[in-house]
């Protein structure tokens, strides 16, 4: 015996009772009445169970303490917000199951299909509603989604076939009184009786229920040809009598029999919703689910659709108003749009339309969800949206930064000292974390020719050791991204380049380059170093002095870059400027970022160095008139409209976007992004801090709108960027109004128009030697993956390794005779890419253009086999290799990962920016599956 609470009352259930059986045994009925089918086909047994409304009580078991409300809408008001914050973390657990064949339904034909498949040596998964496995949908993949008894959600991935053996549903009565309590289908009657439930005085109409003792029926009326016709049920809330009619030679005979229960055996229809929604999937429908549907006779009166409470009169009403198509009938009455998705009404709608219109219309579209799972169940196994973390993430937090999402990364928005952040750049020296920039190493015999076709600048004129601001355009010449292109200083290295992009564009950027390299047939190597390299921008008038005191001996001049050891860390130092001040961008291995950051802060203490956040950076760049992709640009921003024609060289070969530029240059210009300056800006309110979005007027003419306004500059006046439409004469006004206040269009930046500060000559040789500090240099050891054992609990650690991009043939040769120490593990992550747990002190003999770089962008963890299975069954939706050892790559819970399946243990590698997200997912998953059978 199990005790439930039903509407606050105690109800005893017997072992093995479904919730509906327990209710009926207690003389209770879910509210709303209607014929019970016990097969999950109708909406008449819906109740609320433990706060989950619209639950089919015939499809759930009973459990002690279960709280049931017979009102299926939910009864009591649900809480507005749960006490604990719920996020994706509160999704139900998922289990991924891979098999050859999945058989849905385990009646006779389902069991046979499963046996046949097993006999044929196939891996079979069976799903059966009676085992608590309710299939919600059959989807492309193929993927079958089902709930399971353990409160998990099953994602079944069959390789060969989905067998649908869902059987048949019984036809429900549609006559006056068919929404009374006390009506059951023939199959339901048999099940209730078998469960020892007394039906009282029972009358059977139609097929005689199986397994009922002959004397248990008060009366039995066969239906159909020459038989009886169901006329109505009578009663007040609960059925008291059944009225049937028979047409004989002497006219119609009507009989009225009093009863406690009416049993309806009105025939069966294939339970084919899954089959109908699965067209063009590898599906086989067997048994009675495959049968042709039977149409009941056209209903005369009563409720046709119990979900939406649609009556025959309603159908007639819309028919007379011209709604003659099945889909229109459904939409106009809402019949078939409730929980049972037409399970009850569909056969009647078809027979109604056949009789009224003389045309048999097909069933309306079957759509998921066949069984309605909850939002938290459906969210099971959803991928995480991961926001990448810079290697300096924790440093920013410890400095009190408020982190913000920007371009897919967590960036320090401000350290809480906005004015000082700004002043430290303009007056002293400051550090900015720009690790999120996209970074690509590109080499190969065609590297220069390739880049000539990608960027609109003339790459041939970028001499070794130089760098240049570049645009990246699409085929329509719209600006996709911008960055800087550096040619390596070492001429012996052949053509090798380093190209950056904005943070937000980095993911797209690699695909873009690789696609074009392939399309143009260029012989290049491309290595994405976005996560491999951290970058710190040292900016401000004292930047060079800070670097000198941090041990830098030589620094590049403006527009140049070179390898410099700063504070004991090998850096590529690039000298361009986004802030308008003297700036050095220090690109260095991600593993060294914290060390470098702390040493720079320490070395800069004498200069009162202060890091600056993104908010300050956006203000600084605006004073220099630099654009931000996506903020100042849209999907029509050509270099001409952006006034960036200076970055385009049409006197070189073809490049992506060139044809569009030539075509659009023939058209008169319509608008231009311009720099504006407002001398006397309004005092902005907290609620309206910026003019962004404000209309610009040229006299009375609407002339454009503001895209960037970051407030008043230190020197007074407010710099802005905005779109300005040319006037009828084709010129741009100089004097405009913004929000009714005068503003002036300016040519070039308002701050340091000549760029003297950014380009300042620097001589650090004059720094007194005693100010130059030495920093210890520890050469990192490569991670010895062979020696590591699975840790408990599993913790991700940074991998010290080497990544190689080279021709596939050259890598084949390298792998055949590894130049790295014996025992170091190497993973062939792509035909032209290799990840080796060794130090980068080897060459790739077969490819002089190979890129071999220290790689610290991965985190790794070893899991023992059982733990790995437990984690991956839940978080990995793709089929894992069964061979050992084996290497595989793919997303785990939406996070990119590389897996090495060794005997008895599994290695997982994931990019370091996602390591903390991966760790959270791993820890939670293992906690929640603790105790699960593998």
């Amino acid at each position: 015996m199990t005790t439930l609470q039903v509407d606050g009352q105690r109800v005893e259930a017997r072992a093995g009772d479904s919730l509906l059986e327990a209710l009926v045994r207690a003389g209770l009925h879910p509210t709303g009445g209607g014929c019970l089918c016990l097969g999950g086909d109708c909406p008449n047994c819906l109740v609320t169970v433990d706060g989950v409304a619209y639950t089919r009580s015939c499809q759930v078991g009973t459990a002690a303490g279960m709280k049931v409300t017979r009102d299926h809408l939910g009864g009591e008001e649900p809480a507005l917000l749960s006490d604990e914050p719920m996020s994706a973390g509160n999704a139900a657990p998922v289990r991924h199951v891979h098999c050859d064949t999945v058989v849905i339904g385990q009646g006779k034909s389902g069991r046979e299909a499963a046996r046949e498949a097993r006999d044929g040596g196939l891996g079979v998964v069976t799903l059966d509603a009676r085992e608590g496995q309710h299939v919600t949908g059959v989807y492309p993949g193929p993927l079958v989604v089902a709930s399971d008894q353990a409160g998990r959600v099953l994602h079944v991935h069959p390789r060969r076939e989905i067998v649908i053996a869902t059987g048949a549903a019984e036809i429900q009565p549609v006559v006056p009184g068919s929404d009374l309590e006390g009506l059951v289908t023939a199959r339901a009657a048999a099940e209730l009786v078998a469960a020892g439930i007394d039906l009282g005085r029972a009358v059977a109409v139609g097929e005689r229920p199986a397994g009922l003792p002959a004397d248990s029926l008060v009366a039995h009326f066969p239906v159909g040809e020459g038989g009886w016709e169901l006329v109505r049920f009578e009663g007040d809330g609960r059925v008291e009598a059944v009225v049937v009619r028979r047409h004989g030679d002497a006219g119609a005979t009507e009989e009225r029999i009093e009863c406690d229960t009416a049993i309806l055996g009105l025939g069966r229809n294939p339970r084919n919703a899954l089959a109908r929604m699965a067209s063009d999937l590898p599906v086989r429908v067997v048994g009675s689910a495959a049968a042709e549907p039977q149409l009941p006779s056209c209903p005369r009166e009563g409720t046709v659709c119990p979900c939406s409470r649609v009556t025959v009169a309603d159908l007639d009403g819309v028919w007379e108003r011209g709604f003659h198509e099945m889909e229109l009938l459904k939409r106009a009455t809402l019949a078939g749009t409730g929980t049972c998705q037409g399970g009850v009404c569909l056969p009647y709608l078809r027979s109604f339309l056949l009789e009224r219109g003389g045309r048999l219309q097909p069933a309306f579209t079957a759509r998921p969800l066949n069984r309605q799972l909850t939002v938290r169940e459906l969210a099971a196994g959803a991928h995480t949206t991961v926001t990448a973390r810079s290697p300096l993430h924790d440093e920013h937090l410890s400095l009190g930064a408020r982190m913000d999402r920007a371009g897919g990364w967590w960036r320090p928005w401000t350290y809480g000292r906005k004015d000082d952040e700004y002043r430290s750049v303009r007056e002293r020296v400051s550090l900015g974390d720009v690790s999120s920039l996209g970074k690509m190493a590109i080499s190969g015999p065609d590297a220069e020719a390739f880049l000539e076709r990608i960027v609109p600048t003339k790459v041939a004129t970028i001499r070794p050791g130089r760098c240049r601001y570049v645009l990246m355009l699409d085929e329509r010449a719209y600006l996709l991204d911008d960055g800087m292109l550096c040619r390596e200083p070492d001429q012996d290295a052949g053509d090798r380049f380093f190209l950056t992009s904005t943070s937000g564009g980095a993911g797209f950027f690699e695909l873009w380059l690789r696609d074009w390299a392939e399309a143009f047939g260029c012989d290049v190597r491309i290595l994405n170093q976005t996560a491999s390299l951290a970058a710190i921008n040292v900016t401000g008038p004292q930047a060079a002095r800070l670097l000198a005191s941090a041990g830098a001996r030589e620094l590049p001049a403006f527009g140049r870059h070179r390898q410099v050891r700063v504070a004991g860390v090998d850096c590529r130092v690039v000298r361009l400027s986004f802030t308008g001040e003297l700036s050095y961008e220090l690109h260095h291995p991600a593993a060294d970022a914290c060390k470098l950051w702390r040493r720079l802060l320490a070395a800069g203490a004498g200069f009162n160095v202060q890091p600056h956040g993104l908010e300050t950076l956006l203000r600084l760049r605006l004073e220099k008139g630099h654009i931000v992709i996506g903020q100042d640009t849209d999907y029509d921003s050509t270099p001409r409209r952006l006034a960036h024609g200076w970055a385009v060289n049409l006197n070189k070969g073809d490049f992506v976007g060139r044809q569009a530029i030539l075509r659009t240059n023939k058209r008169p210009l319509d608008k231009r992004l311009v720099a504006l300056r407002m001398e006397d800006p309004p005092v902005r309110q907290a609620a309206d801090p910026s003019a962004e979005g404000a209309a610009i007027h040229d006299g009375d003419r609407y002339a454009g709108y503001v895209t960037s306004d970051a407030g008043t500059a230190a020197g007074g006046g407010t710099p802005m960027l905005g779109w300005l439409y040319l006037d009828a004469e084709g010129s741009l006004p100089h004097e405009v109004t913004i929000d009714g206040r005068p503003a002036r269009r300016v040519d070039g930046p308002t701050y340091d128009p000549e760029g003297e500060r950014a380009r300042a000559a620097v001589d650090i040789a004059s720094e007194s030697p005693q100010d130059l500090r030495e920093f210890p240099i520890a050469r990192p050891e490569a991670t010895d993956l062979g020696a590591e054992a699975p840790s408990e609990p599993p913790r991700l650690r940074r991998l010290e390794a080497t990544r190689v991009s080279a021709t596939p043939a050259a890598l084949d040769a390298v792998v055949a005779e590894p130049p790295w120490p014996a025992g170091a593990r190497a993973f062939r992550t792509a035909p032209d890419e290799l990840l080796v747990a060794a130090s980068p002190d080897f060459d790739v003999a077969g490819d002089p253009h190979a890129i071999v770089e220290r790689e610290t962008a991965f985190s790794y963890v070893w899991l023992d086999e059982a733990t790995a299975e437990r984690f991956l069954d839940r978080e990995c939706e793709w089929r894992r290799p069964s061979a050992r050892p084996a290497f595989a790559q793919g997303e785990i819970a939406g996070i990119p990962a590389k897996l090495w399946f060794d005997a008895g243990r599994t290695l997982i590698l994931t990019p370091a920016p996602f390591a903390s997200a991966f760790q959270r997912r791993l820890t939670r998953s293992l906690e929640e599956t603790d105790g699960d059978a593998a």
């Binding site: 719920m86 009455t333 196994g381």
Partner: protein, 402 residues
């Protein structure tokens, strides 16, 4: 009778004639609205709308019923505001209950960049007639008490642009009311009658070919959704259109009232409550072009996860049904309306994910164009020739989802 049925429109079907002044291909919202406004505003009722299936069976019956004007470029704001205004008067004008309800739309921001974008949107919209204001977290919470302002600890609501005129209407009823109105004035609507070809007379389109024979027309308008490229090809036109799937789903009835429409462009979903109390959720288009109407599990799965971040009360609601429509996306994320360069052939397309909200204004403006031969000022920027003229109407930021 239930109330849905009691207040139903009356549709009158008539056999096709051999010739009409105007033939419109596609009896979705835009096609029927064009017929409706031709009849009611310009006295043109010798008009037929041909539909390959049933009326409103394409995207007009598959959208998420949202009406708003808070777009990102002035021309779009003006156009959609016209539609918002027409929608507000449409119940009275047609004397039909369209379940139109202004409920306000909150477009939430979870990062500083998004706060900036929403502030900018508010300012731009208001200047061009679409009332929108930026509201802080306290006001957001007041407008929608169900929101978890911490975003599940991960996606805090830092503010939102609030567009009080944001509304919903029952999509089917809008379609039926326009059909009924057009029919009442004498226009014909023909269901189950695909247009198999266009009659070309010299350089102009002079009618359509159907299974019931050739039908002559003074003007042919393509108001097709989903397969517009096929119809345009019949006139020798290539359109800059790609078709993508867009999915949505509803839950079972939620007992409480969920006031506004809420959207998040960082979590990429939006939610509102239907007149029946269901929670209706949608998200962005599938990135891969497709003509498939097949729904996918990963869509529901991911939207459920994202929605739970902000609307944790939904956890125990059951998802009732999901469905799919196909969207015609233009390169600049703006619609294409007007002349095609082929005499006698007009087009209204590129309705992407913003077709439903544009139905009245799109129909009104197309009707004016056809009746007068002059391109109305409101839709002049949206002509097909803008791509060749390098005058695209880029509005990606505000068109992404709904």
């Amino acid at each position: 009778m239930n109330e849905f049925v009691e207040r139903q429109m009356k549709l009158t079907w008539r056999p096709p004639k051999k010739s009409y002044d105007v033939v419109i291909v596609g009896a979705g919202g835009h096609g029927l609205a064009t017929a409706y406004y031709l009849a009611t505003r310009h006295g043109m009722s010798n008009v037929a709308v041909f539909e390959r299936g049933y009326i409103g069976g394409g995207n007009s019956g598959r959208n998420t019923t949202i009406i708003r004007a808070n777009y990102g470029i002035p021309a779009a704001v003006r156009f959609y505001q016209r539609s918002v205004d027409l929608y507000r008067g449409l119940e009275e004008e047609t004397d039909r209950w369209l379940m139109h309800q202004a409920k306000g739309l909150l477009w939430m921001a979870h990062s500083e960049a998004a706060v900036r974008a929403e502030r900018m949107r508010a300012k731009l919209n208001t200047q061009f007639g679409a009332e929108t204001e930026f509201v802080g977290p306290a006001q957001v919470q007041e407008l929608c008490p169900q929101l978890d302002m911490s975003g599940g600890g991960r996606w805090p609501v830092l503010g939102a642009s609030y567009h009080p005129q944001g509304a919903t209407a029952r999509h089917d009823r809008v379609v039926w009311a326009l059909a009924e109105g057009a029919m009442e004035h004498g226009a014909h609507v023909h269901q189950n009658m695909p247009v198999d070809g266009l009659i070309i007379d010299g350089d102009r389109v002079a009618g359509v070919r159907t299974a019931s024979g050739d039908i002559a027309a003074g003007a042919v308008v393509s108001a097709v959704g989903g397969h517009v490229s096929r119809i345009a090809a019949m006139a020798g036109l290539r359109l800059p259109i790609r078709t993508h799937r867009l999915q949505a789903f509803v839950t079972n009835h939620y007992l409480q009232q969920f006031g506004p429409i809420v959207a998040s462009s960082e979590l990429f979903f939006y939610a509102s409550q239907t007149a029946r109390g269901e929670m209706l959720l949608g998200a962005e288009i599938d990135p891969q072009p497709s003509f498939s109407y097949r729904s996918s599990h990963d869509f529901v799965q991911d939207v459920c996860r994202r929605a739970l971040c902000l609307l944790p009360f939904m956890s125990n609601l059951r998802v009732l049904r999901q469905w799919t429509g196909v969207c015609d996306m233009s390169p600049d994320y703006s619609p294409i309306m007007g002349h095609t360069g082929v005499p006698g052939f007009y087009i209204t397309t590129g309705w992407g994910t913003w077709g439903f909200k544009a139905i009245p204004a799109g129909g009104e403006q197309m009707a004016e164009l056809i009746a007068t031969g002059e391109v109305p000022e409101l839709i002049a920027p949206f002509g097909l020739d803008r791509f060749a003229r390098d005058r695209t109407m880029a509005d990606r930021g505000s068109a992404g989802t709904h």
